[in-house]
């Protein structure tokens, strides 16, 4: 569970910066930051499930 929290924190902080440096109105920046946050989480979960089914050991 702790790993998920660190990953979520990483995604949130990165989303803040990406949204902060983006061009556009404040609302557009907010939406972009949220989009980046969501994409980080979604990709991490998808990759996590793919790796779960690959027998690496």
């Amino acid at each position: 569970m702790r790993h998920v929290l660190w990953m979520a924190l990483f995604a949130a902080l990165t989303g803040i910066v990406f949204g902060g440096v983006a061009k556009g109105t404040d609302r557009q920046k907010l939406m972009y930051g949220l989009k980046v946050f969501g994409e980080f989480l979604a990709i991490a979960f998808i990759l996590g499930w793919i790796l779960y089914f690959i027998p690496l050991r």
């Binding site: 990483f10 910066v17 990406f18 902060g20």
Partner: protein, 140 residues
């Protein structure tokens, strides 16, 4: 005729834009503060500082060139060191005090720490470019 279709290049950025960019790199957030962009400076600077400190607390380690690397293998350190170097004086302070360069691979959060430290520097490069663009009038 041909010259008509070619757009004129933008005039060069003012010298103060370069100064603000260097200050943004040196102290995360400072490049925006000196331009009175308080909220943006607080957000961007706060994230970089937070990620850097969190990375150290998680057991991550900073990269540097040289040391005991043989031959060209030292070059492998160049890219991650460049990323770490983006944190500006934070990195230089750690380098001077030899803080954060020891590997702590036994810790569970070691890889998280490395990632946080690397990305803190990379995000500060973005913040630095943002401060430069604002000072150059390319961005509001």
């Amino acid at each position: 005729m041909v010259a008509k279709g070619i757009e004129r290049s933008e005039p060069g950025a003012p010298a103060r834009a370069w100064v603000f960019a260097v200050s943004a790199w040196a102290v995360p957030g400072l490049g925006h503060f000196v331009q009175k962009r308080w909220t943006r400076g607080l957000l961007l600077g706060g994230v970089v500082w937070g990620m850097f400190v969190a990375g150290l607390l998680l057991g991550g380690h900073l990269f540097k060139m040289g040391g005991g690397d043989q031959g060209l293998s030292g070059l492998l350190q160049l890219l991650p060191m460049s990323a770490n170097f983006g944190a500006g004086l934070l990195y230089i302070f750690c380098w001077l005090t030899n803080t954060g360069f020891a590997e702590q691979a036994q810790r569970v959060t070691y890889e998280y720490g490395n990632t946080f430290l690397l990305v803190a520097g990379l995000l500060n490069y973005l913040a630095m470019l943002d401060a430069f663009d604002i000072a150059a009038g390319r961005k509001e």
